[in-house]
């Protein structure tokens, strides 16, 4: 007797007069839990990581989460694959350093200015590449951070290979710990919200079929620019934050890791979900730290895990979890 697995959505919501009515408290919890618990977990996490090392791992994780979110947003909103998240990070990092060292602005001001201004610079750099597609766009974005790093190295401006030191740090350790976490949460939910509006719907349609969007009297370049600006603002914030955290900026702000690892986070967490890449970062980055003791072998284990996840769960963890949570599975006879 042949059997087949059937998936049914859990009947938790009742649609009445255009609003979803929930029947009981337990169902309300069921609906709210997937967003409330991760938020609480993230906000409480700094309180339970006493050691400086753990704090730094947490911050590094949040920074990669921002870059992964930035990568995913560009992919969802424009359909373009970017290989240059390090560009956003580096531009933000160096602008914060310059604003602090040369203009004496305090960290909280440089953060805002280098997030908004740095994103403008990064967007201006990426703008000429926007008509390109697929591998061509990916290649040009890959080149930018390498190009800027070599330019700084060769001309010895902005501290050259030594980098810039003596940058002001955050006013206190709690600001330092919470700023980036709150920003990750805020950015994730703001972008998710944005994609659900009509404006966001037009953005998502561009990645689906840009020709049909153009035939609908919509200038796709404007939408792509806005998407890249928002995504680069996330990267620039991460860079500026890192600069003030370590009171130093160097060529490592343009390193290839910052472009590649976020993509791994997005692939594992679930591309196109925005929350998935953040989840991916919270798995991959701490994992990379945990296996640090293994020396060079850690790269092997780490890579094997990546391959295994991509092979066996190509949909990404987020989509997998979402399905398990929202649907009942059962075997039925055919």
């Amino acid at each position: 007797m042949a059997k087949r697995r059937e998936r049914i959505d859990r009947p938790i919501k009742v649609l009445s007069e255009d609003i979803y009515a929930l029947e009981s408290v337990s169902r309300m919890i069921y609906v709210a839990a997937p967003s409330v618990f991760p938020i609480l977990f993230l906000l409480l996490l700094p309180l339970f990581t006493p050691s400086l090392y753990m704090q730094r791992v947490l911050i590094l994780t949040a920074v990669y989460a921002l870059l992964a979110l930035s990568w995913d947003f560009i992919a969802v909103a424009t359909g373009l694959v970017s290989l240059g998240q390090a560009l956003f990070f580096g531009v933000g990092a160096y602008s914060a350093a310059i604003l602090n060292l040369h203009f004496g602005l305090p960290p909280m001001v440089t953060l805002v200015v280098s997030t908004l201004g740095g994103a403008a610079i990064a967007t201006a750099l990426v703008a000429p590449c926007l008509p390109l597609r697929g591998i061509y766009f990916a290649m040009t974005t890959l080149v930018y951070p390498l190009l800027l790093a070599r330019a700084i190295e060769a001309t010895a401006v902005l501290g050259g290979t030594d980098g810039l030191v003596g940058i002001a740090s955050f006013p206190n350790v709690w600001v330092e710990r919470y700023l980036v976490l709150v920003f990750v949460l805020g950015a994730t939910f703001a972008l998710r919200r944005l994609l659900r509006t009509d404006f966001g719907l037009v953005m998502r349609s561009i990645s689906d079929n840009d020709q049909a969007v153009r035939a609908s009297a919509i200038n796709i370049t404007v939408y792509k620019l806005i998407a890249v600006y928002l995504a680069s603002a996330l990267g620039c914030f991460a860079g500026a934050y890192f600069t003030h955290l370590y009171m130093f900026v160097g060529l490592s702000a343009f390193s290839l890791d910052l472009s590649i690892l976020p993509i791994a986070c997005a692939v594992i967490g679930g591309m196109g979900t925005l929350v998935g890449p953040v989840l991916g970062a919270f798995i991959l980055v701490p994992l990379a730290e945990m296996v640090r003791d293994l020396g060079t072998l850690r790269i092997v284990f780490y890579s094997l895990l990546l391959v295994a996840l991509v092979l066996f769960k190509p949909e990404g963890l987020m989509n997998f979890l979402h399905r398990k949570y929202q649907q009942i599975e059962r075997w039925v006879q055919v």
């Binding site: 009509d198 404006f199 037009v202 079929n209 049909a212 153009r214 035939a215 609908s216």
Partner: protein, 253 residues
Amino acid sequence: MFEVTTDFLVVDELSKSFGGVKALDRLGFPVVQGEVLGIIGLNGSGKTTLVNVITGFIRPDSGHVRFRGKEITGLPPEKISGLGIARTFQTVRPFHHLPAFKNLIVPLYSSRIRSAAGGGRWGDRDAVALDLLEEVGFERDSAVPYKPAAALPHGYLRRLELARCLALRPEVIITDELFSGLSSSEVGSLMPLMERLRERGITLMMVEHRLRELFQLAGRVIVMEQGRKIAEGPPQAIVADKAVRETYLGAEL
């Protein structure tokens, strides 16, 4: 009934070559406001290139397209569709991940519609979209308008293409083989809709292989061969034309 002007939509001496192949060869004709103009021709005669040039997807090598006396040659597609010249695609291009009615939010969000009175806010656009789908034959109270476009049968996708055009409140709709891939009965059910559009005063330029149905609708037909116009006239005259008969030898007329 309609104002007949020669400066409504004018195609003037258009040429376009791909490599050595002349897809359009000094092709010119006016489109009269309110008419249904049929464009026929064998595969490779340059019909789709013509549509792409008029709608801005391809830049011509030489020649002009004018709309209401204004030069629109070389304008990007979003500008041309913004002027009210909508088009369908030969292969349907829905937004697959979106429910059918949400597909129409894209044109409804264009500045052409938003700036028009009653362009509507977020929630209102859904209602406008559902109205448009009903107009092109989606059953209002069924689940069909809410299904993702990827799950719709081909006939509905063709209607969805038309609805996407209508959402722009167009003056001209250019269809590129709208009837292809549809059964006779499906085409038959589309005919009343096309007639309604004509009655509403929307100018239709239809590139078509389904001659029987086209000839019922069109007031005037242009026959293309190798990028040139080889015949023009009302359907009866085209059917009788010797050159056309030779081109379409064996084809259903």
